[in-house]
Assembly symmetry: C2
C-alpha cells in the first residue's frame, strides 16, 4: 500500500459547500467561518466564487467576504470564477489565486456556464493570460472528469487531453473533479495514474463528492495512484446546483480523520476543525453528511 507521509487538504466548504444553501448566510457569518477555518491549519481554501448572482445568489457578497476576512499569511484564499466577467469582478478584490472551472462534458458545461466546452476553454485562456500578467495562481478544475449527469461516463482520453491543454495554458494546479460523485475507485486510480504520468509542471488534485458513498474509497484509490492533494468541504456540505443528483463533497473532518489514523500528516487541528462545523450548523437546513461530528468522544 503506497501511502505518502503527508497530504494537502483544500477546504472548499465556503464556496462549493455554502453555494448550495438555499437560505442566505449573512456575510459576517461567512467571514467568521473563513477566519475560523484559517486557524485550523488549513493552508488552502476556496473562499468565494464570482458567479452571476442570478444563478448563485448565495455568493453575491463575494467581494465583501473576500475583503472582510482577516487574511492569514499562511493561507491561500482562492476565488472561483467561471469566465472573463468573473475575472473582472474578482480582481477588484485583493485576490492572489483564482479557481477556474470547465466541464469535460459539453452538456454539463452548457448548463454550468452557458458555454460549450471549447468556448469555455478559449474564454479561460484569455483569463489565464491576464491573470498570469498579474502573478495570480491558477487552479484549473476539470468538472465532470469521470461522469456527467447528462452524458454518462466521460472518456478518459478527453480528460487527459484537457489536462495537457490546461498545462499548456499555464495552470499551476489541475483538479480532476468527480462533480456528481459517481466515479468508482478503479476509474479514479486509472485516470489519476494516467494524469500523473503526464508529468505536468502543474500539480494534480482530486475533488470527490459522496453521492454514492464512494468519496473516501475514491480518496484511497487516488492516494494509491500518487495523488497528495484533496478537496473537501466541512460537514460534507456541497453539491452542484447544475448537476442533478450530486450530493455533498467529501467531508473535511472525515478525510482528516482517515489521514491522521493512517499516520498521514495534514497539518490540521482536528478539534478546531470540528468547532468550525458548529459555527456552520445554525446556517444550514441540511443534515450534514460527514460522520465525525456525530461520533461522540472520537479522537484523531
Amino acid at each position: 500500500m503506497n501511502l505518502p507521509d503527508k497530504v494537502e487538504i483544500i477546504e472548499v466548504g465556503p464556496r462549493d459547500g455554502i453555494q448550495n444553501e438555499s437560505n442566505f448566510i449573512p456575510t459576517e457569518k461567512k467571514i467568521e467561518l473563513i477566519n475560523a477555518l484559517s486557524k485550523t491549519g488549513i493552508k488552502r481554501m476556496e473562499a468565494v466564487s464570482f458567479v452571476h448572482p442570478k444563478y448563485v445568489p448565495q455568493m453575491k457578497d463575494a467581494k465583501e467576504v473576500l475583503n472582510g476576512i482577516e487574511k492569514s499569511p499562511s493561507v491561500q484564499y482562492m476565488a472561483l470564477i467561471p469566465n472573463e466577467k468573473g475575472y473582472d469582478r474578482a480582481i477588484e478584490s485583493d485576490v492572489h489565486s483564482l479557481s477556474l472551472v470547465v466541464g469535460a462534458s459539453d452538456s454539463f458545461n452548457l448548463k454550468n456556464v452557458k458555454m460549450s466546452r471549447e468556448q469555455s476553454i478559449t474564454n479561460l485562456a484569455t483569463v489565464i493570460k491576464k491573470a498570469k500578467a498579474n502573478d495570480i495562481f491558477i487552479r484549473y478544475s476539470i468538472a465532470t472528469a469521470f461522469w456527467c449527469p447528462f452524458e454518462g461516463k466521460v472518456d478518459a482520453d478527453l480528460v487527459l487531453k484537457m489536462v495537457e491543454e490546461a498545462e499548456m495554458l499555464g495552470a499551476d494546479e489541475i483538479v480532476l473533479a468527480d462533480t456528481i460523485g459517481r466515479a468508482n475507485p478503479k476509474q479514479v486510480f486509472e485516470l489519476f495514474q494516467a494524469a500523473l504520468s503526464l508529468k505536468t509542471k502543474a500539480s494534480i488534485s482530486a475533488h470527490f463528492h459522496d453521492t454514492y458513498g464512494l468519496a473516501l474509497g475514491n480518496v484511497m484509490a487516488a492516494l494509491e495512484a500518487g495523488v497528495t492533494r484533496f478537496d473537501a468541504s466541512i460537514g460534507g456540505l456541497g453539491g452542484c446546483p447544475f448537476a442533478p443528483g450530486a450530493a455533498g463533497n467529501a467531508a473535511t473532518e472525515d478525510l482528516v480523520f482517515m489521514m491522521h489514523e493512517m499516520g498521514i500528516d495534514t497539518g490540521i487541528d482536528f478539534e478546531q476543525l470540528l468547532a468550525c462545523i458548529e459555527l456552520l450548523k445554525p446556517y444550514t437546513n441540511r443534515e450534514l453528511t460527514g460522520h465525525l461530528h456525530k461520533v461522540k468522544g472520537c479522537q484523531s
Copy 2:
C-alpha cells in the same frame, strides 16, 4: 491496483442489522425479507442469532424464522450463536452453518457474552467439536479485531494468534470484524495481508461498520490485500448493542454498486436488492445510512 474478478457478499442484515431495531419486527416480515434476499443472488446470509432473548429480544423468534423461510438450495443460511447454550437451541432447527463470535478484546467480550475471551474460546471449542460431528459449517468471527470501544486499538499479533487458533479448532471461515467501525484502511490492509499470509485452510472474510465513514475505504484496502469475502447489511442497518458508538454495517447496496462499477462480479441483482430495502423500511425507525437507495435513477 490489485482487484479480483469477483467477490462474495455475505448479507448480515437479518441478524446484525435487525438485532439493533428497538421495535419488534413481526416474524412473518423477517421471513419475507430473508426470502426476498434469497432471490437477489446473495449466496450466504446470517439469518438469525440464538442469543438470550433478555439481551437481544429482537432475535427471540430465531427458531420460527429459521423454520419458516423457504430455503433456497443455493443459499447458505447461517445462525449466530454466542456459546454452547446457543448451539443447543440452534440445532433444534434445521441449521447447516453456524456463526460463532469471540471478541479479541477481553473487555468487549465480557460485555458481549459475559465471558472472558479465553472462556469464550474454550466454550466455542466444545461447540465446534459437536458441530463438526454434525457436518456443520463453522464461520468464526473475531469481533473488535481492530479497535475495542473500551480498550482502544487492538494488538494485531493477538488477532493473528486468534486466527491460527480458530484454524486449529477447525473453523471453515474466519471473519475479522471491525465491530465499532474505527479501523482505518492502512490498518485493514496490514492486518488482512498478515492474516492471509498465514495461509489458513479457512477462508478469511472482512466485516466493516461505517461509524467513521470508512467502511468502503476499508473494503478497498482489504481488496488490495487480497480479501474477496465481505459482510454487509442492506440499508447499512446495524450496530452492536454492546459496543457503544458503533454505527451500521457497510451497506450491501453501496458495496454491490461499488463492485459492479469496478467490473467486479457479485452475482447479485442490484434492482432486486433495492427492492429488499423497501421491504425493510416500514420496520425501522432509523434513517438508513446506505447511499444508493437515496440516489434517484442510479443504475448498477
